[in-house]
Each structure stands twice: as structure tokens, then as C-alpha cells.
Amino acid sequence: MKFLTLLKKELRELLSLTTILTLIGSVVLLIAIGGVMDSAVEEAASSEGEIVICNKDDGAFSDAVIESLKTAGYEVKEVELTDGDYAPQLSDLEVESVVIIPETFSSSITDVLAGKLGEDGKIAPVDVEYVSKMTSLSAMSNVDAGSQMALSAIESAVKSVVYANKNMSLAEIELIEAPVNLIETTVVGEKQAEASSMLLSSYSMMTGMIVPIVIFVLIVYSSQMIMNAVSTEKIDKTLETLLTAPVSRLSVLMAKMVAATVVSALFAVAFMVGFNNMMGGMTDMVSGEIDSAVISELGLNMTTGAYVLLGLQMFMSLLITLAVSLILGALAKDAKSSQTLMMPIMGMAMVPYMLSMFVSINDMGPAKWIMYAIPYTHTFIAQENVIFGNMPLYFGGLIYQAILLVICMTIAVRLFMSDKLFTITFNFGEKKNKYAKKKSLFSK
């Protein structure tokens, strides 16, 4: 009964109104991000067919090219631009990019058709200018690849105009325009599917970025939560009161651990739900280009089993974080030292987090063993391990974490069962011995 009283109190402390609001807020945020991505995709798709053209050429060929762009299904918007400063003009026109067909356009095509060569004895290519605005550093916003699209659209328009002048049949034109059809097969682990590896890797890069963020936030947040709760008890001396009360010290410790675990599990589940929703938005983003069946055929999507394995890893990391934070929080002498004591946990989460975003830790050579020694690494690479079927590595990491957890728990129990809790303190940033000073004042 007393354990329940303790547990209830711990839960109430951890699940304060602000915590619950944070939790709900994060989930809503994740879902909202998914929604934003969804609509970003739609927007990109809707503007896909539009080309803004400034036609400075008054020859017949530029009109023919624009005409053939229109027949090819593009929506062509013609604007006027003057030479020089493009930035204010783009803003005034409210367009992101403009294709400029120069004055010499028709005459150079006429030259080519007449077999006229340039000064270097080769056919002079036809110039087309492309002006676009870079609006953000986010890869997603710049992903619409306007220049590529404009170039290839105009290229094929020029080609068909030229071929039409040469009296070629439609079939001949088609063969010349696309002489080779590339059938790409991508192999993932032991599975394979017909899909472009470039598209797939951009898909997995996006999805691979989200999980580490969630893990990192979760580790830092729960660590801070426990550390605050325990160090406040220590600083307010409510812990001393509890430990002189007629309850066993083990139940005081266990109530803290169980409550922290429950709250963290709640967080993990909530984050996963939000995350999953967000992934829904992400998948829609690429589904225009890759068949989502292909993604699941390759096992690149997160199946239920993969979610369970990833969740298990996250939970393990959380338990270790909780045990370590509990120990560090109990040893903190004031709020400032408890902040300082958080640094090693932050560091241990930060290093594998940053690294896993840019490199594959499993391919790092001997240095990877240093990374494997950091318990959080295994959580950051869990998704990769599960998707690519590195199960020995996944379970090896899990066992390593389990061993670390047992060690941390043993230390925590030892700490609470002895008087070390009151004799060892980490005391950063404060004058060392305030007693010594007062003593010397007194003996004067």
C-alpha cells in the first residue's frame, strides 16, 4: 500500500500538466509536420506543369517551341523581363523561375538547319537562359527541379521543331528522343525491385532523418525530467524525509523507477504515433514517383515488426537514461550542478545522432567500435539494422544495453541502500568548502 502511495506521488509529479501538454503538443506537432509535407507535395505537383517564359525572340521558332510546349501539356505563362536586376522583377511578377528565350534563338536554329558551323567548326548550341530564385535552405522546398524540367521540356520542343522541319515521322521522332529505355533494379538486403536507386535513396534519406530526431528528443527530455525530479527532492531535502520514514528505501527507489518508466513508455508510444502519422505525409511525397508497393516490396517501409523492434530499442535506451539520470540527479548538490551533470548524457546522444545522419556507422571501420560502446548508438542505427537485415548487430546492441542497464540499476540500488547518497556529491561551479570559511571566521 505504501508503495502505491509512493508510486502515485511520483506519477503525479512526472505527469504534471505541463508534461501532459508537452506530450500532446509534440504529437500534434508531428502530425502537423506530416500534413505540411503532404500539402507541400501537392503544391509541388500542381506547379509542375507550369513554365514561365520571357520570349525576346521574334522569329518563328520561338513561337513554334512555345506552341509545342503547350501541346505537350505544359501551362505556359509569358512575361516581360528587362536585362539586369532580375530579383525585383521576379518578385513583382510573383514567379519563382523564368526561362528566357534570347533574341538570337530563331536565327541560331536557322543557322543550324542551314548547316552553318560556329567559329570553332562545330555546330553552335542554341542558348536558353534560366533564372530562378532560391527561397530556402531546405532541400524539400528546392526539390521541384525547375531548371531540369524547363531544360528538358524546351530541348524536346526544339527537337520536335527541328525534326518537323526535316520531315520525320512521329515514330522516328520518338525513337530519336528516347533511344534507350533504362530498366533499373535496386537490391535492398536480400530483396529486390524495379525502381530507381536514386529515388529510393532520397526516400530513405528523408525517413532516416526523422527517427533519430525523435530518439534524441526523447532521450534528452526524459533525462531532464528524471534529473529534475530527483535533484529537486535532494535539494529540497524531501528525499531525506522519505528515507527516514517507515518505508523501505528500495520501494522509494522502485517507485521512482517504475513511474519514470511508465511515463517514458507513454512518451515513446505517443511519439511513435505522431511519427507514424508524419511518415504518412512523407510516403505520399514520394509515392508520385515511386510506387509505394515497391517500397514495401523492398522492406524500406516500417512494418509492424520493425516498429516493435525499433520501439524496443528506444525503450532500452530510455531505461538506461533513466537509471543514469536518477543516479546523477541524486548526486547533484544544486540545480546548476544537475544541469552540468546532464552534459555527458547529451554528448552521448549527440555524437551518434550527428554521425548517423551523415555516415553509416556500421561502415566506419575500427572507429565504429568506439561508437558501439556508446549505448545510444544502437538505437540510432536500429532502424538501419532492421531494414537491411543486420539482425546480429541489432540483438548484439540490445544485449549490450541490457548489461549496461543491469550495471546502472545495481549502482542506483547501492546508492540508495547506503549513505553514499549523502556523502558523495558532485558540486560544480560553487566554492569548495563553505564550512571552512565560516569556521575560520568563528575562531577569530
Binding site: S16, D236, E240, Y435, A436
Partner: protein
């Protein structure tokens, strides 16, 4: 009269060779208010924490109502309550929630817990403020809440470390009055500590003077004043410390 606490040559070394408490011995009888007095760093809190089973004694023993801190710390905890110096309470709880939580820890059944909460509610004098968050309490209010918590189970021995330090005169007076009343009414014993030697005269039946970990003098305030032929406990302390330095040199 029955002894509630017997402290027998209790010593503590945080570092080897340095005694924070050095063979401290004293007794407390039933219904008695005993105060350890001495300057900061004298070893009061160290001694108190050993008796409260928070710290392990390096040498010596203390027996609370027949339970030794060495062999039966659990039994000791059944008989005592402890109020740490400069203690706070859970800021996000209301005063009432705090009392209910602590009662749930100390009592073995619901009715007893209810009784404890009622005891504390009557004593603390906080009235309606009990339903406010502790975070909004003043120092004096927190101390009164914690003191009534410490005595709500009517323990055989209540251990209060610096119960009035940092309080204004009115609050300190109220706290001292509460302590005296409880000892008289319920026969509870108190172990107090203070570095303010003047105020402790008014509340304690007997005092022990402690400096540099050693208990130098024991007795009733009046007897000590007569013995050393001085007007107050501060002067008693000065004499005792000087006499000891001389005997140390000899």
C-alpha cells in the same frame, strides 16, 4: 524516567582521520526537549543524521526506544520523524496533498492516515491556504507545515534540525511554542539543533554544547549559567570552548 534516546560515543569520519562527530554521548528522556547547540560546522547535522539512520556511524551506537541504529534501523524509523534543516516540500502539491501523501507513508491504514492529516491540519494553522500550492507559501508557512507533518504521527522522538533558523521572530516564536506544547501535551521527546544559542534557552529542557565534533558540555541552561558564572548560553559556550583549548594544550 524511561530513556527515549541513548547516544553512545557516536563518531563519524567523512574523510579518514577527520572527525565530523567525535564520541558524542547523551540521553533524552520521555517528554524531554533536548537541543544540540554549536556553531556552523560543529557536527550537529552529522550527529542528527546518524541518529536518523541516514548516515552510517563510523563508531559508536544510538538506541531509540530500544532499537539500535546499527542493528535495527527499520525499528528506529518506526519511532522517529525527522525534519531536515532548510527543508522544502513538493512545490507542485497543495499543503493538503502533501499532508495526505506523508500520512500515507507513515500510517498503516486509512483511518490512521486520516487522523494524522487532521492532527497536522489543526496544528499548522494554515487554514484555507492548505488548498494552495506549496510553491506559493512563505518560508514560515512551509516550516509550520513541515513541523506539523513531523509531529502528526505523534512519534516517540521528533528530530528537528535547526527548526527556527531563517525565520522571523514571530514565526520562530510560534514554532517554539508548538514544540513546547507538544512535549507537555503528548509526552513527545524532541531532539533539536541550533546555532542560535540565545533562543534555544527558551525552548529546551537540556542542552548539549558541541564544537568541532566534540560534545563539550551537557546540562540544563540555568545550571550551566550558574556553573560557569555567566549571564547567557553564548557566554557559557565561549567559556567551554576556551577551557577546552587550554586543556587541549596542557
Amino acid at each position: 524516567m524511561a530513556k527515549v534516546l541513548e547516544v553512545k560515543e557516536l563518531s563519524k569520519q567523512y574523510k579518514k582521520g577527520v572527525y565530523a562527530a567525535n564520541k558524542v554521548s547523551f540521553d533524552i528522556e520521555e517528554g524531554e526537549i533536548f537541543a544540540l547547540i554549536g556553531p556552523n560546522g560543529a557536527g550537529k547535522t552529522t550527529t542528527i543524521r546518524m541518529i536518523s539512520t541516514l548516515l552510517q556511524a563510523t563508531e559508536g551506537d544510538a538506541v531509540v526506544a530500544g532499537h539500535s541504529i546499527l542493528t535495527d534501523p527499520k525499528g528506529v524509523r518506526e519511532c522517529i520523524t525527522y525534519l531536515p534543516d532548510e527543508a522544502g516540500a513538493y512545490k507542485t502539491m497543495t499543503g493538503k496533498q502533501y499532508l495526505e501523501f506523508m500520512a500515507g507513508i507513515f500510517a498503516n491504514d486509512k483511518n490512521t492516515a486520516k487522523q494524522y492529516v487532521q492532527n497536522a491540519t489543526e496544528m499548522c494553522g494554515l487554514g484555507d491556504r492548505l488548498s494552495d500550492k506549496i510553491g506559493s507559501y512563505s518560508r514560515g508557512m512551509i516550516r509550520k507545515l513541515l513541523l506539523s507533518r513531523a509531529v502528526m504521527s505523534r512519534p516517540k522522538l521528533a528530530i528537528l534540525d535547526e527548526p527556527t533558523s531563517g525565520l522571523d521572530i514571530i514565526n520562530a516564536l510560534e514554532i517554539r511554542r508548538m514544540i513546547k506544547e507538544l512535549a507537555a501535551k503528548y509526552g513527545m521527546s524532541f531532539l533539536l539543533s541550533s546555532h542560535n544559542m540565545l533562543e534555544i534557552e527558551f525552548v529546551s529542557d537540556r542542552v548539549g554544547i558541541i564544537a568541532k565534533g566534540r560534545l563539550l558540555e551537557l546540562g540544563r541552561p540555568n545550571e550551566l549559567k550558574i556553573k560557569h558564572n555567566v549571564g547567557n548560553l553564548e557566554e557559557v559556550f565561549e567559556r567551554v570552548v576556551k577551557d577546552n583549548e587550554i586543556s587541549d594544550l596542557a
